[in-house]
């Protein structure tokens, strides 16, 4: 009976020993009380242990000359030798640069697109038009990358719909979906098609949470549309923008795998190689070995961890909530 034990008597004129009623329960007592909750948590804990923390522990082989053909403890430790080899690898630096390029593209051209869409949509007064528009633009988020790439090839490829129209008008074939030079634009268009609408959701919710009387007060003080947006709307969604920026910065090295792997053959590996495809093609398909691939993945994980901690710290200093707080 936890509730009875924790209520101390309010009157203080009792003897001191009677006041000690908030007896701490022993672990055994708590276990007897909480075992159903522990039982419920067990499958998830077991799952994370096997599929998250066990592989995390396997990262140790990035510091070993690991071979699956000998007992684990006979693998010699080699320090940072694999990382040295990684940074000297002729394919690694381009992959890292490509990854950063796509991440920057996302940050500079994708993120604002969702905000602009949300602002434009927030201006739609008719509720019917709003929900129709939302239904349409959220849908592609649920499509697979295979489907998105297929549709892009069908529409913009050299035999595609638009290419045929151009040919019909006497023009030349389009080679947009197999041209490494314009791949960055293609990636951006695919993102915009698939996820810009979905990215809008969170901004729309933030916009809806702004108190309308602020707008009313500003309008009656003579602030026009643009001033209201600058002084009310944008500050109103600032915490959300910062939150998403932190998340984006933390995942800068994780730009995805499927989109690049799927277009690797038509575009060429030089433009499509990112860190994840690098690990896959060098270490799982290729013969660079277990330790090499693990080192590349660990590099990515550690940089991601550092970035997310730094970004969160900066957000705290700016007086924003960030993603977690020191508690």
């Amino acid at each position: 009976m936890a509730t009875l034990q924790s209520t101390a008597p309010p009157d203080a004129d009792r003897t001191p020993d009677r006041l000690v009623v908030r007896r701490k329960r022993t672990v055994a007592q708590r276990f007897r009380h909480d075992w159903p909750l522990l039982l419920l948590a067990l499958p998830v804990v077991a799952h994370l242990a096997v599929f998250h923390y066990w592989p995390t522990a396997w990262n140790i082989i990035a510091f070993m000359d690991y071979s699956p053909y000998r007992p684990f403890w006979e693998n010699p430790f080699v320090g940072f030798a694999w990382f040295e080899r990684l940074f000297a690898d002729p394919y690694f630096t381009p992959a890292l640069l490509n990854t950063l390029k796509f991440a920057a593209l996302n940050l500079v051209f994708m993120f604002p697109l969702s905000i602009v869409l949300a602002l434009a949509m927030n201006g739609i007064i008719s509720i019917k038009a709003r929900s129709a528009f939302q239904s349409i633009v959220y849908l592609p988020h649920f499509f697979s990358w295979v489907l998105v790439v297929t549709v892009f090839v069908q529409v913009l490829g050299s035999d595609g719909l638009i290419s045929n129209w151009i040919m019909g008008g006497g023009g030349e074939r389009l080679n947009f979906t197999s041209n490494p030079d314009t791949f960055l634009l293609l990636v951006w268009m695919q993102w915009a098609w698939k996820d810009a609408g979905w990215g809008m959701i969170i901004f729309l919710a933030a916009l809806a949470s702004i108190n309308p009387s602020l707008y009313e007060a500003a309008a009656s003080d003579g602030a026009n549309r643009w001033r209201r947006m600058w002084h009310i709307t944008l500050p109103g969604i600032r915490p959300v923008i910062i939150l998403l920026l932190i998340l984006q910065i933390g995942s800068i090295l994780s730009v995805g795998f499927e989109q690049y792997q799927l277009q690797r053959q038509s575009i060429g590996y030089q433009s499509t190689e990112v860190l994840d495809t690098f690990v896959y093609y060098q270490s799982i398909i290729g013969n660079q070995g277990e330790s090499f691939g693990t080192a590349a993945g660990l590099f990515k994980g550690v940089i991601g961890l550092i970035l997310i901690l730094v970004a969160n710290n900066i957000a705290h200093r700016l007086g924003e909530q960030g993603i977690y707080q020191k508690s």
Binding site: Y53, S135, G301
Partner: protein
């Protein structure tokens, strides 16, 4: 009648004839040019999404002659309706197998994921219980650091799951983000008094979960189930990584091979050879588009039921995560 009432009525009378929309009174009507630009922007964006999907559907119903006449691989206006492509998909060949397998994968995977997520979220929603904080940390830490592709691959191999259907379900069965979303919902939207009352009446944790908490969370459970189901239905990367040797591949892998073979790319060579050995022509545009339609249809059917709850789920996750 007080003065304020009269004034309110007067305002209504003055405003009403002029106002057709429910735009707030203080908001001035935007300029026609501004309105046009905004409308054009939104319409173009919506059209860029709808038109390709429409062309895909139209092409999937086109006959081969119509496609040849149009001289392309997508049609905007269908000239005739043919079910040839769909007949081919459901005729019991490799495509049928793949669709059946992907459906089973989605159903089994979603069920497993939901059970794990619900149990975990409920256990973690009871703050102050034994080991509550360590378990919560165990989950939150997964957001900060991922184990990496190679070690995960190694563990799947060591468990003997390589080239097994279970490797498509088990490694990704728990979405820790979904657990946090659901936990936040349990904690914020289900009144604690209700749980206390159930306890007073002698209901244990399991009974509370099944009789009180779950019936009150149907909407959010539907959204999370949709997220999981879409993940399994669209599964591609895991199949490439963990099950390259399976005969029956998930539908996304099959679609990818069809795409590659029609682009004349090396990855498609295997698929093209397979078609030739079976005495079939390479997939026509109609067949490819029909497969695309088959992968879209389940999503589009589920979508309207769940769409109105998206925002809630996304926001809960973002704010409490």
């Amino acid at each position: 009648m007080t003065t304020t009432d009269i004034r309110a009525t007067a305002t209504d009378l003055r405003i009403k004839p002029r106002r057709k929309s429910n735009r707030p009174i203080w908001d001035e009507e935007p300029s026609p040019a501004g309105k046009a630009v905004k409308a054009l922007f939104l319409l173009c964006y919506a059209a860029a999404i709808v038109l390709p999907i429409w062309a895909v559907v139209a092409t999937s119903f086109a006959s081969e002659e119509a496609l040849t006449r149009a001289g392309g691989n997508l049609l905007i206006l269908p000239t005739d309706v043919s079910f040839q492509a769909y007949r081919e998909i459901f005729s019991g060949g490799a495509l049928t197998d793949s669709l059946v397998m992907t459906t089973m994968l989605t159903v089994v995977g979603t069920a497993i994921s939901m059970v794990l997520t619900i149990c975990g979220a409920y256990a973690l929603s009871r703050t102050g219980s034994l080991l509550h904080r360590p378990i919560l940390w165990l989950i939150l830490l997964t957001f900060l650091f991922g184990p990496g592709m190679y070690p995960s691959f190694l563990v799947v191999q060591k468990l003997g799951l390589f080239n097994s259907y279970w490797s498509l379900i088990l490694p990704g069965a728990v979405g820790t983000f979904n657990i946090i979303i659901l936990r936040a919902f349990f904690m914020n939207s289900i009144p604690g008094e209700l749980l206390d009352a159930a306890k007073m009446d002698g209901a244990g944790e399991f009974r509370t979960l099944f009789r009180i908490v779950l019936p009150m969370s149907k909407a959010i459970l539907a959204v999370i189930a949709l997220f999981y189901a879409v993940g399994y239905w669209n599964l591609y990367f895991q199949a490439v990584l963990y099950t390259p040797g399976l005969d029956t591949q998930p539908i996304q892998v099959v679609l990818q091979r069809m795409l590659m073979s029609s682009q004349g790319l090396p990855d498609g060579a295997q698929a093209a050879a397979q078609y030739q050995s079976q005495g079939e022509a390479a997939p026509t545009a109609a067949l490819k588009m029909a497969v695309v339609v088959c992968t879209i249809v389940p999503i589009v059917i589920m979508y309207p039921f769940i769409q109105k709850h998206f925002t809630k789920a996304v926001i809960t996750g973002a704010v409490k995560g």
